[in-house]
């Protein structure tokens, strides 16, 4: 161990990911697994996979998992956490899942201060179903259901989930991070760790929004996709901590 | 006449488009046609295929339970579909990519070095049309002209400039088994 700089986290099963080449989901899975490893809570963690490209997350994480209906992961996690309040419970959700069909569930879990952690992967489209518009799709962005580019007049504006949830009293920790380059990946991991630590302290609802890429549906090479993310998504979705309850320092 | 064809390979090798071209050409000749793609998760990273039926009379079942012809563009497709071919059926192998021997000896097997030929023309992306050309020449199920006309109708605008290369790939495929026409 002392001799190893980088190994596969114990919390990941050996199964290879089914994600497309260069997809951000793989990086984010690994970060979550590393944090669970570091906190030593693998055996007391229950994850909830949502419907989206990461629907098979239950295959990749090496702990108990439930697979939830589209958008309902926060409700499923609530059911689990209420029965097992001393376990670590988290959901892993895409932007279609969380911000579109599942919006009521995420807001209410947050408002209730449900003591769970939400890993929210914002890749500005519906990856799994082939690149349709998401609530996070940027104005002008082309998708298969906004073929002329998202028209704010017809399809409205993207939702800033972190800012929106930060208006509530239930959340203890909310941050938006990105994985478009190595320093950001480091920061993303820190935020994920903080969220889980906050859950362990039982102070409230925690969520980390991770800006990610979908090279396949964006029609870009993976590295290009990260540049696009940086250039286009960051201005609309500013990074930072939107909520950190007492006991959780802002940007430590 | 009822011709049942399966075209299979990796996603991105143009297998679905090849089948569509064939179906389109059949339709232009007044035949009954149907085209069924594999869809969904199978397509991400995995193998894609389509099933085409071309017939003189109404097609009752569009399923291709026992294909008369199979095009294979990769090894998994060979393993999956060669056993399903009906006895005496035709197996078209892109031999640039698939090297394995076929066990069955009740088939008409044609090896087409499609990628090599395609790369010579312009790029490996044209391999599917080379294969299709070979098929046209070997069977005459539809004519070169119908396929060429279909190409013109179906090629998306942004790839329209590739039309001459596409035609050339078809012709080179035909040439393997006779004169293009």
């Amino acid at each position: 161990m002392a001799n190893t700089l980088f190994v596969r986290p114990e919390t990941l099963t050996p199964d290879p990911f089914h994600y497309c080449p260069g997809c951000g989901h793989g990086i984010i899975h690994r970060l979550v697994a590393e944090v669970i490893d570091e906190l030593g809570v693998r055996e007391t963690t229950i994850g909830v996979a949502s419907v989206g490209c990461s629907v098979l997350a239950y295959k990749y994480f090496n702990f108990d998992m439930q697979q939830a209906a589209h958008g309902r992961a926060p409700a499923v996690a609530t059911g689990i956490k209420r029965v097992l309040p001393d376990r670590v419970v988290f959901t892993y959700q895409g932007d279609g899942d969380l911000a579109s069909i599942g919006l009521a569930e995420i807001v209410h879990a947050a408002a209730r201060g449900e003591k769970i952690t939400v890993i929210f992967v914002n890749n500005a489209n519906y990856g799994m179903t082939g690149g349709q518009m998401a609530p996070t799709t940027l104005p002008g962005q082309k998708t298969t259901t906004s073929p002329a580019g998202r028209s704010v007049d017809q399809a409205g504006y993207p939702i800033r989930v972190s800012e929106m949830l930060a208006t509530l009293d239930g959340p203890a920790y909310i941050a938006r991070v990105s994985i478009h380059n190595p320093p950001q990946i480091f920061k993303a991991k820190k935020a994920i760790r903080k969220a889980f630590e906050t859950q362990l302290r039982g102070t409230g609802f925690t969520l980390v929004e991770v800006l990610s890429s979908c090279p396949t549906n964006w029609g870009m090479k993976p590295a290009e996709a990260f540049s696009w993310l940086e250039k286009n998504m960051l201005p609309y979705f500013p990074l930072g901590e939107y909520k950190a309850a007492s006991g959780v320092s802002q940007d430590d | 006449m009822t011709e049942k064809i399966i075209i299979a390979g990796f996603g991105g090798q143009g297998v679905l488009f090849t089948g569509q071209l064939l179906a389109y050409a059949g339709m232009m000749e007044g035949k009954h046609v149907s085209w069924i793609p594999s869809y969904g998760a199978e397509m991400r990273g995995g193998t894609a295929h389509c099933a085409v039926t071309i017939a003189d009379e109404e097609i009752s079942s569009p399923l291709v339970e026992e294909p008369g012809t199979v095009f294979v563009f990769n090894l998994p497709s060979l393993l999956k579909f060669a056993p399903r071919l009906k006895p005496g059926g035709m197996l078209l192998i892109n031999s640039s990519l698939v090297k394995q021997e076929v066990k069955r000896n009740d088939l008409r097997i044609y090896s087409v070095p499609a990628n090599q030929i395609a790369e010579k023309i312009k790029s490996a992306q044209l391999a599917n049309l080379v294969m299709l050309g070979a098929y046209l020449k070997l069977t005459g199920v539809v004519s070169f002209h119908s396929v060429a006309a279909s190409l013109e109708k179906t090629l998306p605008a942004r790839r329209r400039h590739l039309l001459p290369y596409n035609r050339q790939a078809l012709e080179e495929g035909m040439r393997l088994f006779g004169e293009p026409n």
Binding site: Q66, Q67, A68, V76, G79, R82, V83, A104, E105 | -
Partner: protein, 358 residues
């Protein structure tokens, strides 16, 4: 000792005594007292009552809690049940035990809040997508609200399936004396499949996704075998005066009691009527009904709807000889009106009668 309880509250108390400690629900008339009761009672019992943001959230909380190994319940009425259909399909697919209560009201749409039985199809045919069925128990009195609630939890765990209690606004609102179970359930059956943290074992997964159709077919086959076993073993019905009956009345829930009154009076008037009351709507007690009807000349189905159970009756006894009487929209059939139907079918002529097939 008996106590006087409202049907809705009786379900709540029975659930607690059956070891249920988790309830997730959303208010809707005429079942709201069940929530209100449990919002007081569950915290007392060391459990959790949570008013969900919607019926959809509630059924998915049930999914999570059931998957975590708890005995858990939700309840609603018509529109709310419709919203739960996706979740119910998931619960059935994931084989998660739980109890779902529908205290029916008049539909369709927003409809009204008076009693109805118009969700019979939804309950017994799976209003959700895909091939699944779930046991549906139909109480006819407040005592059965208790007994069948307890039974529902047992069946749920035994077969790893959601179980539905199908009642109606009248049963939910009325009070009757009930005897509560003497011995509350304190220990739940072991659930080694539950997701409780993987300490000391391989990880558990609760899942309904099978992208490979061969696998999904195998899962479905396993489900179908379970449904066949339940069909074989769990069908129940109450029979009343069916021996030598010329006319069999079939009705469930509160309507069966009203029909019983009519059957009684018919008997007193010399008409040989009998009653079959399905207690399980799925599995439908077709053997019991077929046997009872074998000797009868006519069958009269009475429902608080436009005729839904009648399809099961026809599937059990054939298409001939089956008559229907129903009221809709919250109207409750009276025993007088049912008696009139019995007499009509009986073709009363001055004290004598001849039963004619329809």
């Amino acid at each position: 000792m008996k106590i006087l309880m409202k049907g809705n509250e009786a379900i709540g108390e029975a659930a607690v005594l059956a070891g249920c400690r988790y309830f997730f629900g959303y208010p809707i008339t005429p079942q709201t007292e069940l929530l209100e009761y449990l919002s007081r009672r569950l915290p007392e019992a060391g459990g959790v009552f949570l008013q969900a943001e919607s019926e959809i959230a509630a059924i998915n909380m049930v999914y999570g809690a059931a998957g975590a190994g708890a005995r858990v319940m939700t309840s609603s009425s018509g529109p709310g049940l419709s919203l739960k259909q996706e979740g119910i399909s998931f619960l059935a697919a994931a084989e998660l035990p739980c109890v779902i209560v529908n205290v029916m009201r008049g539909g369709p749409g927003l409809g009204g809040i008076q009693p109805s039985q118009a969700d019979y199809f939804q309950a017994t045919r799976g209003g959700g997508h895909g091939d699944y069925r779930l046991p549906v128990l139909a109480p006819a009195c407040v005592q059965e609200m208790v007994d069948l609630t307890v039974r529902a939890f047992t069946l749920a765990d035994q077969y790893r399936t959601p179980v539905m209690i199908l009642a109606d606004g009248l049963l939910g609102q009325m009070m009757e004396p009930v005897e509560l179970p003497a011995a509350p359930v304190n220990e739940l059956p072991a659930k080694p499949w539950a997701t409780t943290g993987c300490k000391g074992r391989q990880k558990n997964i609760i899942n309904t996704l099978y992208l490979n159709p061969e696998e999904l077919e195998a899962v479905n086959q396993r489900l179908q075998e379970k449904f066949a076993a339940i069909t074989k073993k769990e069908a129940r019905a109450e029979e009343y005066l069916v021996e030598n009956a010329d006319i069999i009345v079939v009705a469930f829930g509160i309507v069966a009691r009203i029909a019983k009154e009519a059957v009684k009076v018919a008997h007193a008037q010399g008409i040989r009527a009998g009653l079959v009351r399905p207690v399980t709507l799925w599995p439908f007690p077709e053997k019991i009904l077929a046997a009872a009807a074998a000797r009868a000349k006519a069958v009269l189905t009475v429902e608080m709807n436009a005729g839904q159970m009648i399809e099961d009756v026809r599937l059990a006894v054939g298409n001939e000889r089956v008559h229907f009487y129903g009221r809709m929209g919250g109207m409750v059939p009276t025993s007088k009106a049912i008696l009139e139907q019995i007499r009509k079918i009986g073709g009363i002529v001055r004290g004598k009668y001849a039963v004619r097939p329809a």
